[in-house]
Symmetry: D2
Subunit: 144 residues, 4 copies
Amino acid sequence: MGEPFRHRLRVRYAECDMQGHVFNAHYLAYFDLTLTELWRAAIGYYGLMTERGVDLVVAEANARYLAAARFDEEIDVEATIERLGTTAITTRFRVLRGERLLVDGWLRHVCVDATALTKTPIPGWLRDALAPWVIAASPALPGA
Amino acid sequence: MGEPFRHRLRVRYAECDMQGHVFNAHYLAYFDLTLTELWRAAIGYYGLMTERGVDLVVAEANARYLAAARFDEEIDVEATIERLGTTAITTRFRVLRGERLLVDGWLRHVCVDATALTKTPIPGWLRDALAPWVIAASPALPGA
Amino acid sequence: MGEPFRHRLRVRYAECDMQGHVFNAHYLAYFDLTLTELWRAAIGYYGLMTERGVDLVVAEANARYLAAARFDEEIDVEATIERLGTTAITTRFRVLRGERLLVDGWLRHVCVDATALTKTPIPGWLRDALAPWVIAASPALPGA
Amino acid sequence: MGEPFRHRLRVRYAECDMQGHVFNAHYLAYFDLTLTELWRAAIGYYGLMTERGVDLVVAEANARYLAAARFDEEIDVEATIERLGTTAITTRFRVLRGERLLVDGWLRHVCVDATALTKTPIPGWLRDALAPWVIAASPALPGA
């Protein structure tokens, strides 16, 4: 029974476009940096994976834009692991300003051998470390 | 019977990450700039829309990463309009290096009133202008 | 007798280039976001300026790169106002990892009328608010 | 008697900030990509340097912002090598919209051994290849 990992960040000026909103592509970067923080909570630091011979590559990304984040606002990015397959991890991200959901998306990563870059099963130690943030997949999650 | 719009670009050094690949979020920016070029071909310049009272906002983005583009490579971004609804436009993008498909994705935009920012039907003149690049939706396109 | 304003941040993956270092242009964005935080400390929030009829535009930027910041490192950006002229503000930035100086640079801003965008004197209330971080200019500061 | 190298590019939407202007840091990225094109003209492709055992690292960057480039404008970046020292290269960049000078800046690079990353003299073959774009330093160029 996992619960969301949460990372707070503040919108930077350079991330906002002419409409005063965060440009759509930057939300994928928000997802990515939140995952780095989730990894820190789970295994200490991201680099431990490559030291132990595995790495993750992004296979698919998705984002639905419901409302805009603006310059200098503090927003929360919630992450939950909605599918932990044999070789693939689907992480769902919800960007919130207070209670208001702004963006709802997900990233699907594939576990690869750190040198050969070929698909490899997610090792047990990593699977165990991620367990606190694994929840049952939402039916609304495409591709999960 | 539309055919793809095609825009060629060269991968910039600052777009590549530590793995030497274009960072995943930047492909959404590639989609966006290709759409600007498609708009130029269709209606002359993007700003004509707001001058005529309508604008587009991104409602959803998706990208599947099949292979990596690298620094200094020339790549082509193909765009086809796979759904032209009453208020929504779904554009599919295929990023290619030569014949090799690297990224396959789509953006769904919603047409809004340029001042009120409320949903409004795509005007006839815009619908007509986009016709050359409209094709029947691929069955593989989620959300279209 | 001012002392530096200090803002801590963590290097993001997307900010690092193929050499594993923060790409040079991103340091100017680090300077900019640190200035936003200094402004928060000085006047509450950046937008107060435009509400009161003035704004700042960047007139010149400079950075000397002494050592590299890398992915996931925590770094501090120190800011001091080294020149508070009639219409211009030169702010010096020092990027540090612990005691190690990585980048030393400055931004020169000009105060403008928020609507006409013409040069205007820095108002007294802003000058007073910035006083805690004003120090005598370093002789090494070009253009100050 | 060199003359400027010239590279044309179009301002991307994601590069423009809330004021509708190219965000200041992105001009350094424009300088960088223009240098990549100058290198292509001089030696064929950038990677030839590392293949031959040398690389360049940025030691200092400077930009003076005179007027704003805006979304969808075509601009030219002119590059001239204003100082070709034993180990350092200072390249000046002028960003123009038509005849109008928008940004005037420079980058100073240091030649390093590609593996040890220690300072090394610019090899003769590279010096010869860059000759067409070397001009006498402008007196206005600080740090050159």
